[in-house]
Amino acid sequence: MGMEDQLVQIAAQITLVLLTLAILIAFVRLFIGPDQADRIVALDLISVLIVAYLAVLCVYTGQKAFLDVAIAYALIAFLGTVALARFRERLAKERGGSENRDAEESS
């Protein structure tokens, strides 16, 4: 039994390293993203990765409260993503037309 627990601990450590690297890479896209929609997609990915991180922490530390934290964070992250997408759409509608593809089509 101790052997299997140790196996889970090692797997959790490797997964935590992978998730940290993934969040850092997603932050690079959040920083350089050429469009605002790229940044929204990057934020969505980062929030999903944080939910996965919390699930791994629940196994790694043995604290079952992290599962509730993960569920609550998934709910709030979904609301945040929806709000950002609606905001982006409404902003573009108020401006009337947009900046990116019109320039290519007219030229």
């Binding site: 797997a11 992978l18 990765l49 996965a52």
Partner: protein, 116 residues
Amino acid sequence: MMAVLSAVLMLAGGVFCFVAAVGMLRLPDTIIRMHAATKAGALGAGLMFLSLACFYVELSTTLRAFAAILFLLITAPVAAHLIGRAAYCTRVRLWDRTRIDELAFTCDWNEPESED
């Protein structure tokens, strides 16, 4: 035995999340990047919760883990749809090797009305 299964599922989820982040960095277009982010991200997080349900074999924790998986599987397509529609209707720049643009005439509510 359940611990081994839990470790394998957790590693698979970690690899999926990492691949999603690499695709986020390297794919050429917002819409294509969204494919990597939402699909692989939701699958990775779902595998993590499945691993958690295999690690704690109790009714309350496993039920909550499955509820979390269900919630992720319901909300990920909705969020992806909203982001994709917002990105497309604000005319985000597509990849220059895009051949088929099936939505080309559906999002015309921000065009000037002088066409017809």
